[in-house]
Structure formats: C-alpha cells, structure tokens
Symmetry: C2
Subunit: 185 residues, 2 copies
C-alpha cells in the first residue's frame, strides 16, 4: 500500500498559501480593477513574493481561473423540477458574479481569452466544462443546448457587468430567469 501513502516528497514543503492568494486576488481585483491588479500587487497583498506565484501558476490567467474555481465551487443542483433547477442555477451564478471581485475577475480573464487561444482553452476546459457536464446531467439536455444556456446566462451577466461596472440588479435577474425558462421547457 505504499502508493496510497505517497510519502511526502523530499525538500521544503509548499506553504499553504493558496487560500491567502485567492483572497488577495479577489480583494485586489475588487479594489483596483482587473488590469491594475498586477501579479506584483496581488503577491504584495498576500504577503508573498511575486516569484512564488509564478512558481505555482504559469500565467496570470491560470491564477485567475483557479481563483474563480475556488470562488464558485460546485453548482447547487439538488433535485426539483427542471424549472427550479435552472432558476436556481441562474440565480446562483448571478449571485457569485455579484460578489466583490468575482465579476471583475471573470470579465477580465474572459476578455483576455479573446485574444489568447491558450487561455481560452484553459477557460473552456477548466471553468466551463465541469459546469456544463453537471448541467447536462441534471437537465438531460444535449451539450449544445447547455452551451447555449451558458452563453445566454453568463454572457448577459458579464455584458451588464462590463458595460456598467456593476452586477445586474435583482429585477433584471428575474427577467432573465423568466426569459430563459420557457425556451427550455
């Protein structure tokens, strides 16, 4: 059973700072915006060196994606009607995007991906795919329908965030839910 207790590798162990870095990332992005939240500033806010960040994440984009994965966590999909499941998912992602720093970081890394195919691949495979698969399973919809659903919901929320700098208000989220549900009845 040596493989099940994979004896800690030699050398100095990594300090458990991922959570600190994620928190520093969100707060820095929230305070300064995505572009001014440089890796150096994030490192300073986390109380570590910039090189330590680059030792763990290959690029700023990868750091942001991991940070978003940590911030979002799993999508809540407890049983209920299809309409309830979809409504809950929409309100959940809208709430997350409204949390301080999350929406800015999301919109920022999404924007960077527009002109960076490698980042786009990371974004698609690490961030979008897990939720897409969970939704396919919960809703019994084919992949392209779920991708369309994600485009509409996330696209709308990010467009509002990007144009106004603020998350979407609750009554518009209600309108979004009421518009999307009939299309997937």
């Amino acid at each position: 059973m040596t493989s099940s207790t994979p004896a800690r590798p030699p050398g100095r162990p990594r300090s458990g700072i991922n959570d600190v870095v994620f928190a520093a990332t969100l707060s820095t992005v929230h305070e300064l915006g995505y572009a001014r939240a440089t890796v150096e500033r994030i490192a300073a806010a986390a109380g570590i060196a910039k090189t330590t960040i680059y030792r763990r994440w290959p690029t700023k984009g990868a750091l942001i994606v991991d940070c978003l994965l940590d911030a979002f966590g799993p999508v809540p999909l407890e049983g209920g009607s299809r309409a309830e499941t979809m409504s809950a998912a929409i309100r959940w992602v809208a709430g997350k995007i409204g949390e301080p720093g999350v929406g800015d970081a999301f919109a920022g890394v999404f924007s960077d991906g527009v002109s960076d195919p490698e980042l786009r691949a990371i974004l698609s495979s690490r961030l979008q795919d897990p939720y897409r698969l969970a939704l396919q399973d919960a809703l019994g919809e084919p992949a392209h329908r779920v991708l369309f659903f994600i485009d509409v919901v996330v696209g709308t929320l990010l467009h509002r965030m990007g144009m106004t700098g603020r998350p979407m208000a609750d009554d518009d989220i209600d309108a979004l839910v009421e518009m999307v549900l009939p299309a997937f009845r």
Copy 2:
C-alpha cells in the same frame, strides 16, 4: 455667409486615411487577435506612421470604437411588426459580429473596458447609446428594457465568440431570436 463656407484652415490638410486605418484595424485584429494587434502593427498595415494614429485617436480603445461604429453603421429598423423589427435587429448584429475582425475587436475593446472606466464610458455613450435610443424609438420600450435586450443579445453573442473564438452558428441565432421575442411580446 462667411460662417457657412468655413474657409479651410491653413496648413497641410489631413490626408483621407480614416477608411484605410479602419480596414487595416479590422484585418490586423482578424489575423493576429486583439492583443497582438498593436497600434504599431495597425499603422504598418495602413502604411502610415504610428504617431499619425495617435494624432487622430487619443487611445487604442477610441480607435477601436470608431472602427466599430464605422463597421456597424446604423441599425436597420424599417417598419414592420415589433417581432420583425427585433428579429431583424438580432440577426443584423449577429451578422456584423460574425464579420472578420469585428467580433474580435468588439470583444477585445469590451474586455479592456472592464478595468478602464474611461473606456467604458466611451463604449457606453458612443457605441451603445445610439443603438439604444434607436431601439427605444422603434420598439416603444423604456430604456431599462432596451438595455436588458442589448445585454442579452450582445452578451450571448460575445460570450460564444470569446469562449470558442468563432461567431455563433445560424441555428443558435435562431434559438436566440425565438427565446428573446416572447419575452418582449
């Protein structure tokens, strides 16, 4: 009547290169992506000096916005039923975003605006507002409803473009039209 013939100002006149610059911008963005389409490369593609561009547009973002204004032109809103008007507007913007370079440029400048309030103001006032006002007039909807309509349509199209690198396919545009229309009946 001296004011109606505003005697050309003295000095060397500006050469008529705006159209050349716009074309060079779109083709460069299309070939290299938004981030790699540097002002220097755009200028080279247009056969002019970088400083000439900065003499006419204060920032890269302002150049892109003017380029997009030129590329989009006025939204076609000839009379017809509300449904026909909205459907035509959706398909028109989807087609424009699908033109080479336009979608990339739009998504890129939108992304930059996320962390640049000044650019966001330019984007909102010069690009979004004219179309919003035209739609308010044509549809008889209040501002916040038209803004929601724009968030949904443009947000969805840009999210698809940003995640896949390609414009949305026709059948998904059909689904978008069929989802949006009942919400504005």
